[in-house]
Amino acid sequence: MSKFRKDDSKELPEVSTASLPDIVFMLLFFFMSTTTMREVTLNVKITLPQATELSKLEKKSLVSYIYVGTPQPQFQKMFGTEPRIQLNDQFAEVSDIPDFITSERQAHNEAEVPQMITSLKVDEYTKMGIVTDIKQELRKISALHINYSSRKRVN
């Protein structure tokens, strides 16, 4: 008996937590460097269509987004329920797109301008009329590289 009791008094040493802050800091820096803050609040409701032949958008800083969809409920009194265009944080008309693209271009180096991509985030129930108008505007200002944003289709 006494033999066992003797063993009891020898306690296991606790796991050292001294390195815990270091580990947490490491994770923290990882997330800090990978995070991209959401830049715009969506004023329109968008459900992206599904597709299989997707390609990824590589350089996010070179992408300008055009959102099209029905306004969120709190905006429906002012803007109705028909699909609308959103550029940056506000509702816009088709005629505002050239200005938008120009200002996006001015924010970048001249060398980077040819690599810029316009991503169209369009709700799947939108009619093509508005999308075609947008495409025509983009052609006029020769922002020809576009990306129809869509979700991966799961079979």
Partner: protein, 192 residues
């Protein structure tokens, strides 16, 4: 002798808590989603005063029409979206040199030697009232058809997937199966 007074160290036990707090904030606010989509190039605006495009033989054009009711008409036939890919592949490849399918011109392609290359063009026209969902589905099938053909050729020739090929090999395959999808200006028929 003056006794040394020890300066108490700043307690660092709460360091972990602070770091955790920051960590959780960044964890919550981070968005890891990768943006992806169908990549397309728009045609440049035609220069002022240009006449209509030169006529193209009918056998070289693969006409895809989508109306406001989201119905699909391919080469004059009502088709389901699921069958579009096969039809487009058959059109672009024209394996039996059918007289009603596009002509081919022989051209010297690096790594392949003289190869017959199709002159086919896919023409997509949609209505103003077409749903975007349908449009993307059709675009997806057409892009998929060309991707499939490239993939098959790549496996057959190099024994590897198209995406793993180097740039030169890719370019010569792209030359054999060019991505020629033309979008006509939409007609305002059957609108509302």
């Amino acid at each position: 002798m003056v006794s040394k007074k020890k300066v108490p160290g700043i307690p660092s036990s709460s360091l972990a808590d602070i770091a955790f707090l920051l960590l959780i904030f960044f964890l919550v606010s981070t968005t890891m989603d990768v943006d992806s989509g169908l990549e397309r190039k728009l045609p440049p605006m035609p220069p002022e005063g240009q006449e209509d495009t030169p006529p193209i033989k009918e056998r070289n054009v693969f006409v895809v029409l989508v109306n406001a009711k989201n119905q699909l008409l391919v080469e004059g036939e009502l088709t389901r979206v699921e069958d579009l890919r096969e039809k487009a592949k058959n059109f672009m490849a024209n394996p039996n040199n059918d007289a009603s399918l596009p002509e081919k011109t022989v051209k010297d392609v690096p790594y392949f030697g003289p190869t017959p290359i199709t002159k086919g063009i896919i023409s997509l026209r949609n209505d103003v009232g077409t749903q975007y969902k349908m449009y993307i589905a059709v675009q997806n099938e057409l892009v998929g058809a060309i991707n499939d053909l490239r993939e098959e050729l790549s496996i057959q020739k190099f024994g590897r997937s198209f995406n793993s090929l180097n740039l030169d090999h890719k370019q010569s395959i792209q030359e054999i199966y060019p991505s020629r999808i033309s979008e006509a200006e939409p007609k305002r028929v059957g609108d509302k």
